[in-house]
C-alpha cells in the first residue's frame, strides 16, 4: 500500500549487492543516507539509501537532449518514461509485522506470535515492486528507540525529516566505543554531548582523560569564540575535576584535588610503554629488571639519584666510577654500562616531571578510584602537562590501577565474597592512537580493556582523528562507532572494518558534511545511519536537564503516530 511518503518501488537487487529501487519522485527529493521502509507481504524491511544512479532505458535517450527537438510536453512524457533514477538501498533490518488485523489470517498469526516481533538482521529481500517510502517518526522510534524512554539518548536527527535518532546508553556502555572524525568535524562537541548524556543517565561512571583541558572546565569555541560550558560547571559535585600536578590550575578553575604520582608506583612496564617517545633501546628491559631486582619499588628514585659519569680518584691516582654513579651500579649489577648510561640519560625527561614525587600530598589515585566506584565522574585535566609523554605515562599508570581494582571487585562479586556489583565504568581517552597504536597496544592497559574488560564492567570511549593508526584488534572490539567526516581512505576503512555493507557505507562516510553530521555504526546501533548531530548549546542543556525535550518529543511522536 502506498502513502504520501512513497518514493519508489523495488526493481531488483540482492542481499549482497543492495536493493535497487526505481524512484518515482524527483531525485532531489531523496538524499544519500535516507532511512527508508519497504513493506512486502507480511514483512517490513528497513534500509538506508547508499547511492542514487541516473539511468535510461536506452543510452541514446540520455545522450540526446530531446527537449530541444520535441515540444516540452512531449519531452516531459518521454523523459518520464525513458530516463529514471534508481536508488541503491542497503537493507539492514526486517520485522515480521504479520497480516493486516482485518485479514482473516491475522488471528492465526497472532496466536503463533504471542510476543510483539522485534526487528532482526536482514535475512531475505522484499518482492519486486514492493513500495518504498521514507521512514516516519514511528519507524525511527521502532528501530532506534523511543526518545521518551529512559536510557534512550537523542544523539542527532535524521537528515531529511529531522526525526530524533537515539542511542541506547545502557547498550552503549556495554562495549567499548569510538568517536572518530577529521580535525574540525566536531568530535569534541559530540564527545561532550555523549559524556553529558552518560553522566545524566548515571548508569556508569565516566573517567575522562582530558588532554587538552576541554571537557571539565568551561571553554571558548575556537571558531565562534562563544563560551562552552564544561561538564564540571553543569554537573557540579557529580563531576570531580582533577588536575595533574600540585597547584595545577585548569583554565582558571581550581580542581577538586590534584593528582601526583608516587615514584614508588612507577613500574618498568610504565617506562617500557614510553619506548617510542623516549627512543629507548632493546637493552632497556634488561636494565630495568636489574634496577627493580636490586631496589624493588625504590628503583625509580635510586636510579634518578645516580650520577652518570661521576668518578673518584684511587690512591694510585687512577679514576674509577664513584660508588653513587650509574657506571658503578652497572658494573656491580652486571649490566652493560653504556646501556645503563643511555637509559639514565633518556629517563631524564621522566625523572624531573613535576607531578612525580617521592611522597604525594594525598593518595589521589585511590581517591579517583573511590569517586568512580561511588558513582561520581572524574575529569583528569592535564593542565600544562600536555606532552605525549605526560599523557602516555599518566593515563597508562592510572588505567592499570583502575583495571586491577575493577578486576578484583568483579571477581569478589562473582565469587560471592562481595554482594556489591561493580559500577560500570567508561574511560574516555582522546588521541587514542597514541595509546592504542600497533606498537603500544599490547603493552598498555587500554588494549586489554578494549578486548577483555567488558566482563569486568570497564569499557573505553576512544576519541581519535586517525582511526587507521589504532591497532586492528582494538578497532574490531569497538561496539558503537560514531564517525564524522574522514578524508583518508585508510581511516575510512578502519572505521568500517568488520561491518556489513562497508563498501556502500564508505562513500557515505566520505561525503558527510564536514561539520555536525556523523554516521552511527556498529553493534550499539540497530543499523547504520547518518544523522545531523545535536548541537551543544544552551538548548541541549535545557533539554537534558530540564526534560523539555521529552515533552516536546512525546507530543510530536504521538502526533506523528496518529494519536
Amino acid at each position: 500500500m502506498e502513502n504520501d511518503n512513497t518514493i519508489g518501488y523495488v526493481v531488483g537487487g540482492s542481499l549482497k549487492e543492495n536493493l535497487n529501487v526505481r524512484l518515482t519522485v524527483s531525485p532531489q527529493a531523496v538524499q544519500e543516507g535516507s532511512f527508508v521502509v519497504i513493506d512486502s507481504g507480511d514483512w517490513r524491511f528497513y534500509g538506508l539509501v547508499t547511492d542514487l544512479v541516473l539511468g535510461a532505458t536506452d543510452p541514446r535517450f540520455a545522450d540526446e537532449q530531446s527537449e530541444r527537438r520535441l515540444p516540452p510536453r512531449l519531452a516531459g512524457l518521454l523523459h518520464g518514461q525513458t530516463l529514471y533514477t534508481n536508488l541503491e538501498v542497503l537493507p539492514a533490518l526486517m520485522l515480521e509485522r504479520g497480516p493486516d488485523p482485518a485479514d482473516p489470517r491475522y488471528p492465526a498469526w497472532r496466536m503463533a506470535h504471542t510476543e510483539d516481533p522485534r526487528p532482526i538482521p536482514i535475512k531475505t529481500v522484499p518482492s519486486h515492486h514492493a513500495p518504498v517510502r521514507r521512514a516516519e517518526a514511528g519507524d525511527v522510534a521502532e528501530i532506534f528507540g523511543d526518545p521518551n524512554k529512559k536510557g534512550n539518548f537523542i544523539i542527532g536527527y535524521t537528515r531529511e525529516q529531522l526525526l530524533p535518532v537515539c542511542l541506547d546508553l545502557d547498550k552503549f556502555v556495554q562495549r567499548s566505543s569510538g568517536i572518530f572524525g577529521a580535525t574540525g568535524t566536531g568530535k569534541s562537541f559530540l564527545t561532550r554531548i555523549i559524556l553529558a548524556g552518560l553522566i545524566q543517565h548515571d548508569r556508569a561512571s565516566v573517567l575522562i582523560f582530558d588532554m587538552h583541558n576541554e571537557y571539565g572546565p568551561d571553554d571558548t569555541a575556537s571558531d565562534t569564540n562563544q563560551r562552552i560550558p564544561g561538564l564540571k560547571s553543569k554537573f557540579h559535585s557529580k563531576v570531580q575535576l582533577v588536575g595533574l600536578g600540585r597547584d595545577t590550575n585548569i583554565r582558571g578553575a581550581t580542581p577538586d584535588f590534584h593528582l601526583e604520582i608516587a615514584e614508588s608506583d612507577i613500574t618498568p612496564a610504565d617506562i617500557e610503554m614510553l619506548t617510542r617517545e623516549l627512543n629507548l633501546r632493546e637493552t632497556t628491559s634488561t636494565t630495568l629488571n636489574a634496577l627493580v631486582g636490586e631496589f624493588r619499588d625504590q628503583w625509580f628514585r635510586r636510579f634518578r639519584e645516580m650520577k652518570p659519569g661521576a668518578t673518584i680518584e684511587t690512591e694510585d691516582g687512577k679514576k674509577i666510577p664513584a660508588p653513587d654513579s650509574v657506571e658503578a651500579w652497572a658494573n656491580q649489577a652486571g649490566v652493560n654500562v653504556m646501556a645503563a648510561l643511555g637509559l639514565h640519560d633518556k629517563l631524564r625527561k621522566v625523572f624531573y616531571l613535576p607531578y612525580i614525587v617521592e611522597r604525594p600530598a594525598g593518595d589521589a589515585i585511590s581517591e579517583i578510584i573511590h569517586s568512580l566506584e561511588a558513582g561520581r565522574h572524574v575529569v583528569l585535566s592535564f593542565g600544562d602537562h600536555e606532552s605525549d609523554l605526560d599523557y602516555l605515562l599518566v593515563t597508562n599508570m592510572l588505567t592499570r590501577q583502575i583495571r586491577e581494582r575493577w578486576e578484583q571487585t568483579t571477581n569478589e562479586f562473582r565469587s560471592g565474597k562481595s554482594s556489591r556489583e561493580p559500577r560500570p565504568l567508561v574511560i574516555a581517552i582522546e588521541e587514542a592512537h597514541k595509546l592504542l597504536n600497533r606498537e603500544l597496544a599490547s603493552q598498555t592497559a587500554f588494549s586489554t580493556i578494549a578486548r577483555e574488560m567488558r566482563k569486568y564492567y570497564v569499557t573505553l570511549l576512544i576519541i581519535d582523528q586517525r582511526p587507521s593508526q589504532i591497532y586492528d584488534e582494538v578497532m574490531s572490539q569497538l561496539g558503537t562507532r560514531i564517525s564524522g567526516w574522514l578524508g583518508d581512505d585508510l581511516d575510512i576503512s578502519a572505521v568500517l572494518s568488520g561491518l556489513a555493507g562497508r563498501e556502500a557505507l564508505r562513500g557515505m562516510l566520505a561525503r558527510l558534511q564536514p561539520r555536525e553530521e556523523v554516521l552511527l555504526l556498529g553493534w550499539g546501533v540497530p543499523m547504520p545511519i547518518p544523522v545531523k548531530s545535536r548541537r551543544y548549546d544552551e538548548r541541549f542543556w535545557q533539554e537534558l536537564k530540564g526534560g523539555s525535550e521529552s515533552k516536546r518529543s512525546e507530543a510530536q511522536i504521538l502526533k506523528e503516530l496518529g494519536f
Binding site: T57, F61, S66, R73, L74, L77
Partner: protein, 201 residues
C-alpha cells in the same frame, strides 16, 4: 453527428481490408481516421485508414498526354471514373454485444460490406476503452508509415476527446506509446517527431 458512408468493401483479411469508393465519397475519409464496418446488429469491426489510393484507368492515361484538357472533362473523369478510389483500412478491434475489444476481429468483413466513418462518440468509446491495446496492431505493421499514421490518428482522436473536455487522453496515449516503444529508439523518435508536428502539442 451521423456516420458517413465511405464505400463498400473490395477485399479483406483478418488484419486489414480495402474499400472502394467514389470520388465524392473519397473527400470524407482521412488518413488516420477511425472507421467502422457494421457486420450485423451486434458486431462491428473498427479500423484505421492507413492508405488512400487512386489508381489510373485507360482514359486518364490518354488525358494525361493530351493538351488543354477542358475543366469539365477533368471533372467528368474524376466523378464518373471507372476505377474506384481504394481506401485501405487496418483492423484495430471490434465491438460485439456492446463490448469493445482491441483485438483482431474474429472474422473479416465480406465484400460489398459498407464502411462508415466513426462518429465522435464512437471514436471516444473505442479509443477510450481499455489501455490503448489497439496500438499494438499499428506498431506491428512494419510496412506502414507508423509515425505518420499514429500522429494523424492521435490528432483526430484527441479532437474528439477534447470536444468533451478530456484533455488527458493524448498524454495517456503518448505515455503508452513511449512504454511500448522505449526499447525501439528509432521508431519512438520517428513517432514523437511526427507527433511534434501536429498542433496537439
Amino acid at each position: 453527428m451521423t456516420a458517413i458512408e465511405i464505400g463498400r468493401l473490395l477485399r479483406a483479411s483478418t488484419t486489414a481490408c480495402v474499400v472502394g469508393c467514389r470520388v465524392s465519397q473519397a473527400n470524407v475519409p482521412a488518413f488516420g481516421g477511425l472507421v467502422r464496418i457494421p457486420l450485423d446488429a451486434a458486431y462491428s469491426i473498427f479500423g484505421l485508414i492507413y492508405d488512400i489510393r487512386i489508381e489510373d484507368d485507360g482514359l486518364v492515361r490518354q488525358l494525361v498526354t493530351a493538351d488543354n484538357v477542358p475543366n469539365d472533362v477533368i471533372l467528368d473523369n474524376r466523378v464518373n471514373r471507372n476505377v474506384p478510389v481504394e481506401v485501405s483500412v487496418l483492423h484495430v478491434g471490434y465491438e460485439q454485444h456492446g463490448r469493445i475489444f482491441h483485438l483482431l476481429p474474429p472474422r473479416p468483413p465480406l465484400s460489398l460490406d459498407l464502411l462508415y466513418t466513426c462518429r465522435p462518440e464512437e471514436s471516444r468509446a473505442f479509443t477510450g476503452a481499455g489501455r490503448f491495446g489497439y496500438f499494438r496492431h499499428i506498431l506491428r505493421a512494419a510496412d506502414l508509415p507508423v509515425g505518420e499514421l499514429l500522429a494523424a490518428h492521435l490528432r483526430l482522436a484527441n479532437a474528439d476527446h477534447a470536444e468533451q473536455g478530456n484533455h488527458d487522453w493524448a498524454s495517456a496515449a503518448v505515455q503508452e506509446l513511449i512504454t511500448l516503444l522505449r526499447d525501439d529508439y528509432p521508431t519512438l523518435m520517428t513517432v514523437l517527431g511526427a507527433l511534434a508536428d501536429t498542433e496537439a502539442w
